[in-house]
Amino acid sequence: MKIHEYQAKELFIEAGITAPSGKVATTAQQAEEFAREIGAPVMVKAQVHVGGRGKAGGVKFAKTVEDARMHAENILGMDIKGLTVKKVLITSAAEITSECYVGIILDRVTKRPVFMVSSAGGIDIEEVAEKTPEKIHKLAVDPIVGLRDFEARELASKLYKDIKQIRQASVILKKLYEVFWKYDASLVEINPLITDETGKVVALDAKFNIDDNALYRLPNIEKMRDLDAEEPSEIEAREGDLSFVKLDGNIGCIVNGAGLAMATMDLVKRYGGEPANFLDIGGSSNPRKVVTAMKIILSDPKVEAILFNIFGGITRCDDVANGIVMAFKELNPQVPVVVRLTGTNEKEGAKILKTVPIDTGAKTLDEVVKRAIALAAKSAKSVAQEELVLA
């Protein structure tokens, strides 16, 4: 789960990391008021769950409160990498004398939390990482021992020459490490970590990604979830305990298991279709899940056919079949549905499916994908003809 910069900063400040506080505005009017309250000059920063905001024009310096209003007007509603900006953070503008980068990621290679620090921070950090990786210093921390003081000092000395700043930065690094563990982060990042005109080290930005698997023990983080920043169908899927990602194609896919779901989507593409989604109904066999899955997919007007690929292990084919029958009764789908049920209770499942008008002819994975694509083309054609007749 991702949280916004302003939320991440709240967690930083609570942990004792020096960061400028600010206020979140949803209208230009509000932005102006907050700018007046904080005192110009201020920064106006788009709050979206995506990197590269600065480069996209989502972060602006406002010299006056009127400027703050103008920038907020431009930024609110702006599209950044497919996401609409609905909130801006108004925060005091600091005089920047140096910009560094510090971050901790869960590193799957060393299986340890790895610090990455660089004195070449700022908006070009990705380019720095790619072109001059030697400018980024890394340290894998033993997760049982934790970050020791001398390690923090060594990392900080890669960023600053002045011992006062080295001390300040090592404190921030230690606290960042604590925050990483406290909130089950998979990534925490400060970019830039700046020094201001008084020489003080300040976290000017904050990025926080939290492990979904740990949310059960982080009720306060779960409350920070911004439903406005998420795809409505993905929210519905999460509430229905389904793993779902919306895509842009014409073939709706309902599969059990993440790997098989991806492989099924790949075959859809290979045989000339486009997957409309990733959807894993998971290992349990609750028929209601199938109904929710169908409902979410049918709400997408681009979908021209629904493809079920179920390889029963824990999942029982008869349970899925019951779910499909329920979905037909409740939702009355107008697009063709192609089903392949293999594995546990396959025969019982096939029997149940006889009562609904679906295509169950395909036996293999490749066949079922080809059938779905063929039927999608057919249904798209008949819709087009109908429209022609009506016109």
């Binding site: 869960l106 799957r108 290679v109 299986k111 340890r112 939390p113 990705e126 033993d142 997760p143 049982i144 990483f180 563990w181 089950d184 982060a185 998979s186 492990d211 979904d212 698997n213 740990a214 059960y216 023990r217 793993s243 990602v245 895509l247 599969v255 059990n256 298991g257 993440a258 790997g259 098989l260 779901a261 991806m262 492989a263 989507m265 790949d266 075959l267 859809v268 593409k269 290979r270 997957p275 990733f278 894993d280 290992g283 390889f311 029963g312 292990g313 824990i314 293999t342 594995g343 546990t344 293999t364 994975l365 490749d366």
Partner: protein, 336 residues
């Protein structure tokens, strides 16, 4: 033989009285696995389907000499269950539980790093050595005993591949699901190494997916260290970057961890890559065929003494192994 589990595997089930635990204990027992004990704190002294239940893993090991543990406990208790199993003296731990926090797993991994313990998973379907033992949730009826080793990051996709192999008459030595999380105990290379050293295994299927660079490293290993043919499959070619595709580990970050990158690494290492799971048996059959003709072509060429000796030794070893297996198969057939 087989890898990691076999007829001598004596299993303790952690979380045996839970919904998943009791269901799969039954299925494993039916398959022929020696399930010798179960553990659920507070239920020690009771029995489940004739299997004694203990309060702790240490007690279960002391009383039953269990050497392998399988974990079905809910996510908040899974890390602790792994620590307990590791401290009890079992040598192999298979954690089926899905949804264990990754940071918790980093500590677990660090803890068992220096111990003589193999952890498989978490978030995995477990493993099966057809005809010998099954630990986890892979359906036994889709498998068949034979010479193909299967290692995969996924569950149902593995079933699809295994079923395709069985359907084509190609049996398996061991099928291993290593799990879809970011921090897992056993990786591709561990399994490839085990398959390379296992006389029953003739060829290997490696099923990867987007995220991380385990597949790329495994490909390097195959090129440098393996004599047995390996066939690959990668899922997630249509996955968009930055989005978690179900598995916690299946995320493309930036430009790394993409399916293209992995397929290219496989190609570079000479690993044929199937475009669909249904193509895997064909590629395996082809690889086995090539291996035969290669062995024939190599042996008469005598270029250097040392090399020839080595090759000759290997070839005879292989022949012996093959003979043994064909004998076994013949025996089985005659029994039927």
């Amino acid at each position: 033989m087989s890898v990691f589990i076999n007829k001598r595997t004596k299993l303790v089930v952690q979380g045996i009285t839970g919904r998943d635990g009791s269901l799969h204990t039954n299925l494993m027992k039916k398959y022929g696995t020696q399930v010798v004990a179960g553990v659920t704190p507070g239920k020690g002294g009771s029995k489940l389907k004739g299997i004694p239940v203990f309060d702790s893993v240490a007690e279960a090991v002391a009383k039953t000499k269990a050497n392998t543990s399988v974990i079905y406990v809910p996510p908040p208790f899974a890390a602790d269950a792994i620590y307990e199993a590791a401290d009890s003296g079992v040598k192999t731990i298979i954690c089926i539980t899905e949804g264990v926090p990754a940071n918790e797993m980093m500590k677990v991994y660090e803890y068992i790093r220096e111990m003589d313990v193999r952890l498989i998973g978490p978030n995995c379907p477990g493993l099966i050595s057809p005809g010998q033992s099954k630990v986890g949730i892979i359906p036994g009826q889709i498998c068949k005993q034979g010479g193909v080793g299967v290692v995969s990051r996924s569950g149902t996709l593995t079933y699809e591949a295994v079923w395709a192999l069985t359907d084509a008459g190609l049996g398996q030595s061991t099928c291993i699901g290593i799990g879809g999380d970011q921090v897992i105990g056993t990786n591709f290379i561990d399994c490839l190494e085990a398959f390379e050293n296992d006389p029953q295994t003739k060829a290997v299927v490696m099923i990867g997916e987007i995220g991380g660079d385990d597949e790329q490293k495994a490909a390097m290993y195959v090129k440098k260290k393996m004599t047995k043919p390996v066939v690959g499959f990668i899922s997630g070619r249509t996955a968009p970057p930055g989005v978690r595709m179900g598995h916690a580990g299946a995320i493309i970050s930036g430009s790394s961890g993409t399916a293209e990158e992995k397929v290219a690494a496989f190609n570079k290492a000479g690993i044929p890559v199937a475009d669909s799971p249904t193509e895997i048996p064909g590629l395996i059959a082809e690889a086995l065929k090539k291996l035969k003709t290669k062995a024939k072509a190599k042996s008469p060429k005598k270029t250097g003494k040392k090399v020839v000796k080595k090759v000759a030794k290997k070839a005879t070893k292989k022949k012996v192994a093959k003979k043994k297996i064909t004998k076994k198969v013949a025996k089985k057939k005659s029994r039927k």
